[in-house]
Subunit: 194 residues, 2 copies
Amino acid sequence: MKSSPEQGDLRVRRTHKLLWEALMAEMAVRPFEQISVSDICERAMVHRTTFYKHYEDKYALLEQGMRQMYDALLAEAEHLPPSAYSVEQPPPYFVRLFEHVAQHERFYRLALGGDGIGRFQRLLRNYLSDKVANTLREEHTAGALQFPIAIHAHYMAGAIISVLAWWLEQDMPLSSREMAHYLLAQHGPGAGLS
Amino acid sequence: MKSSPEQGDLRVRRTHKLLWEALMAEMAVRPFEQISVSDICERAMVHRTTFYKHYEDKYALLEQGMRQMYDALLAEAEHLPPSAYSVEQPPPYFVRLFEHVAQHERFYRLALGGDGIGRFQRLLRNYLSDKVANTLREEHTAGALQFPIAIHAHYMAGAIISVLAWWLEQDMPLSSREMAHYLLAQHGPGAGLS
DNA sequence: GCGTTAGTCGACACGTTGTCGTGTATCTAT
DNA sequence: ATAGATACACGACAACGTGTCGACTAACGC
C-alpha cells in the first residue's frame, strides 16, 4: 500500500497511453478514416497483435478516448448548475465548459475542427441539450411556453458547440469568462436560460 | 434540338445516378467509412473499373453529391434575403431552407443525423454563418456592437443546423413555416437578425 | 452509318486486416 | 524472493479491398 497502484497493470496503462497518443498525433496529420492500425502501432512502437488484444479496431480506440474525455467533462460539471447567473457575472457552468475545452485543446481541435468527429459531437450535443432542457423545465414550471423546450434545447446546444469550434479555430483570442459572457449575451435577456 | 440533351452522354449520367443512389442506399444501412467501393458497385450494378474511371475513391463520389446538394441550396436561396422579416410572417429565407431540407430529406438525414457527414456540415455552417454575418453587417452599420459579429454568426449557424437535425430526427412534426417561426423566436426580439 | 467513347471483363500486385501459436519479459500475490 | 499468471513481441497466414491494366463489346452523338 506504499505506492498507490492507480489502477491495474502498469504495462496495460502504458500501452493504452501510447496507442491513444499515437492516434492523436496521427490525426493531427491526416483524417481519421485513412489512418491504419499499422500506422498507429508503428508510431506507438507497439506490436499490431497487441493492439488487437485491447481494441477491436481503430474505432474502438477512438471511442474509448472520446468516452474518457466525456466522463471528464461530466465529472467537472455535474455539480455546477447552469442556471445560476447574473448579467455581469458569467455563469460558472459555461466558464467551466470553456476552460475544460481549453485544457484539452488538442483533442477538441480534432473533435470540433476540420471535418470533426461526428460521433463525439453527437454525444456532446445530446448532453448539452439535456442540460439546457432540464434548466428550462426548472425555470418556468408554470410559465407559459412560447415554443417547445426541445427546440430551444437543441438550438442552444448546437449554438454552443459551434461557438466552441469557432473559438478553437481562432486560437482562443478571448478568455473563457468573456466567451461565456458573449455566449449568453447572444441569447438576449428574458429569452430563457438567463 | 428536338430532344434537349440535358447534358452530356446518357450513359455517363446514368452511371453517376446509379452510383450516387447506391451510395445513399448503402449509407442508410451502415456508416460511410465501412462501405467499400465494391459494395457500391455491386448495388449499382456497375463494374468496379467503371467507378474508378469517374471517381478517385468513394470520398470523391460523396464530395460530388454533397457539392450538388449545396449548389441546389445556393440556387434556391441566393435571391432571398434573410433579413426581410416581420414578427408574424416568418422570413421567406428560413422557410425556404426548411423546405429545401424536407425536399431532399433522404440526403439530409444522412448528412445531419447519426454521426453525420462532418464535411458537409462544415460547408453548411460556413455558408450560414456568412449569410448571417452579412445580414448583421447591413443591419447595424452604425449601431454599436455588443459582441463580435463572428461569434453571433457562428452561434446562429450552429443553432440552425442543430434545429434542422432535430426536426429530421423527429420526422418533421412541424411545418416549415412553424419551424422558421420558432427558429427566430428563440433568438428573442431585439437581439439582432430580427 | 461511322467514329468516338463508355462500359465490361478478367487479372494483377499491393497494402491492410484480423487471427493464429510460440516464446519471452514483466507484473502481482503469496 | 519466488512462483504463477499475464501482457507483449514476433512471424506467418488467409481473406479482403484497392487501384490499375489491356483488350473486347456496346452504346452514344454527329
